[in-house]
């Protein structure tokens, strides 16, 4: 991995880093902060995820909708005994704000960071706002790596005191256009200093296998930990929407057919012909199948050489993480951090 000045070779000492370094198949989750100042909601979601994932991503104004800050919510997550991965986008902050927020995040106990460019604000609830994009995600990775490894701010000035030592992550979109360039863009992120990668949702295992083949050909799996993104489908409609409307997500027809098939008992009926109980039963059937598909995907992805773990995205459905992790044989999670703390 990258150079480090700490004695044991750990870059950050985070639980996620230790799980990956020990060669365990990692599992990370995702927690979306509320569109409110309600800390209880974070505690509730953290309780659903604690023990089932090695660390949990806290989104940063995800899809450009204003939510509790990632660092604010992450502080509560730390208090709850779960390890956060702070997400930081380049949309809302310039290099001054990013660096100062990261100093604060580190002081508050956060050790993992996912560097993102960020969704364009036009998709969110403040489409009239001005964006920043002073930097892009690759430059952000490099800046944070330099803070840790060189002890310098982006401007080149040396730290006066403790530097933040994050385990640095970046995202990858294996199926976005231009698809031939995607492994090279990943290489740029690794070159910039990304210690781990979380990918966009994978439903098409053969396509991801082909991507990983190229990634291995470039030796990238030996320089970074690649966590494949997975997420349980809630309905055939969600599967179709992602296939048709979300750039960079491939959903094979076979998966849509499976989701549709479990809804067969209620198929062909109009909305008002279904009772509330019918709708509930149909939704349960869909969700069960969605979780089942997710488990199978994890099992298949685990077989691909170079896949170091999975990133489970079940936003606003955190309850799904427990059955997925258990069903995929990933429970219990290694308790390395606790051993470390005890030592």
């Amino acid at each position: 991995m990258t150079t480090s000045s700490s004695n044991d070779g750990n870059l950050s000492g985070s639980n996620l880093e230790q799980v990956l370094r020990a060669g365990h198949f990692a599992a990370t989750g995702e927690l979306g902060p509320p569109q409110s100042a309600d800390g209880e909601e974070i505690r509730h979601k953290a309780a659903l995820l604690k023990g089932f994932v090695d660390a949990v991503n806290i989104t940063d104004n995800q899809t450009a909708i204003v939510r509790m800050s990632s660092i604010g919510a992450g502080t509560i997550v730390v208090q709850e005994g779960l390890e956060p991965v702070i997400q930081m986008t380049c949309r809302d902050r310039n290099r001054l704000a990013i660096q100062s927020d990261l100093l604060g995040a580190y002081a508050l106990g956060m050790r993992n960071l996912l560097c993102l460019t960020g969704d364009h604000q036009i998709f969110g609830n403040h489409p009239d706002s001005k964006n920043v994009f002073d930097m892009d995600s690759i430059q952000l990775v490099k800046m944070v790596a330099d803070m840790r490894d060189e002890g310098i701010f982006e401007c080149g000035d040396a730290f006066k005191g403790l530097e933040p030592r994050f385990f640095i992550g970046a995202a990858a979109a294996p199926f976005a256009d231009p698809i031939d360039f995607r492994p090279y863009r990943l290489a740029k992120k690794v070159k910039a200093g990304a210690n781990f990668i979380q990918t966009q949702l994978v439903y098409d295992v053969p396509a991801f296998t082909a991507y990983m083949e190229k990634v291995r050909g470039m030796g990238l799996h030996e320089q970074t930990y690649i966590l494949a993104g997975v997420g349980p489908l809630k309905s055939p409609g969600m599967a179709r929407y992602m296939k048709n409307n979300v750039p960079g997500i491939l959903v094979p027809d076979e998966i849509i057919a499976r989701m549709t098939a479990v809804g067969a008992p209620w198929a062909g009926k109009k909305k008002d012909e279904l009772t509330r109980e019918d709708k509930r039963a149909r939704s349960t059937a869909w969700k069960e199948e969605g979780i089942k598909i997710c488990i199978e995907l994890i099992q298949q992805l685990r077989e691909i050489k170079g896949v170091a773990g999975v990133h489970i995205m079940a936003i606003e459905w955190e309850q799904a993480v427990k059955p997925i992790v258990e069903g995929a044989g990933l429970y219990p999670r290694p308790a390395l951090a606790e051993e470390e703390l005890a030592a």
């Binding site: 380049c90 994009f133 892009d136 976005a176 256009d177 360039f181």
Partner: protein
């Protein structure tokens, strides 16, 4: 060139208010080429204002004149007399033209007739596209002659992001993904290697972020005794 669009007649009327003598000033350069504020548009705007005023029973006098360039003092000097007679000058120049009139005629009330949109070019009849963000530090040499600052929705220097699909930007299927264009062009030219380098954060000081910009060319300046 500078690309602009006319404001609605309704907005123009509200900007003019109850002025009695209105002078519409067109500009013969960029906004003529983009059909927003040339002599033809100046004539149409003034006749529309006259018609609206007549329907309203007002006694508004509207005249129009077009100069070759509103952004140079010498062309504004040519219309000094007409400007001095007007209660309101409605400039059909870009934002530079409006400000030049305000600066050159301190006692004249001038309002904008256009919205100045961007630096761009006509890509087909009736269609204009943005091309330059005037960042002051051109990087087109790194990107195959396609500007990601002006044409990528996130101004990425190490693009493309994950929102590129079928050559379009995720913000709008009508918007080309600049990084797909860059990729395709460099690929065609056998220069994809360029994209593997990490581009460092941009120095935005030369852009608007460094404050209002000014260029001084001592070699072109007139010495006082020569003036």
């Amino acid at each position: 060139m500078i690309v602009a669009e006319q404001k609605s007649l309704e907005e123009l009327r509200s900007l003019i208010g109850d002025a009695e003598n209105v002078l519409v000033v067109g500009c013969g350069t960029c906004v003529t080429v983009c059909f927003a504020g040339g002599s033809r548009e100046a004539a149409i705007v003034s006749s529309s204002l006259r018609m609206a005023s007549k329907l309203n029973g007002d006694k508004m006098q509207v005249r129009d004149v077009t100069v070759q360039r509103q952004c140079e003092w010498e062309y504004l000097d040519e219309i000094e007399e007409q400007i001095s007679e007007a209660d309101v000058v409605l400039s059909l120049g870009c934002g530079i033209g409006v400000q030049a009139i305000a600066e050159h005629f301190p006692n004249t009330w001038v309002v904008p007739g256009l919205n100045t949109n961007f630096l761009g070019m006509p890509t087909e009849q009736g269609v204009w596209d943005e091309r330059c963000a005037a960042c002051g530090d051109c990087i087109l040499g790194l990107t195959g002659g396609i500007c990601p600052i002006a044409r990528c929705s996130k101004s990425l220097l190490n693009g493309p992001c994950g929102g590129s699909e079928d050559g379009h930007c995720e913000i709008d299927p009508e918007v080309d993904c600049a990084w797909q264009l860059i990729y395709d062009r460099l690929n065609r030219m056998g220069k994809l290697q360029v994209l593997l380098d990490l581009q460092p954060p941009k120095n935005w000081r030369t852009s608007r972020d460094g404050g209002p910009r000014r260029i001084v060319r001592e070699d072109l300046r007139l010495l006082e005794e020569e003036e």
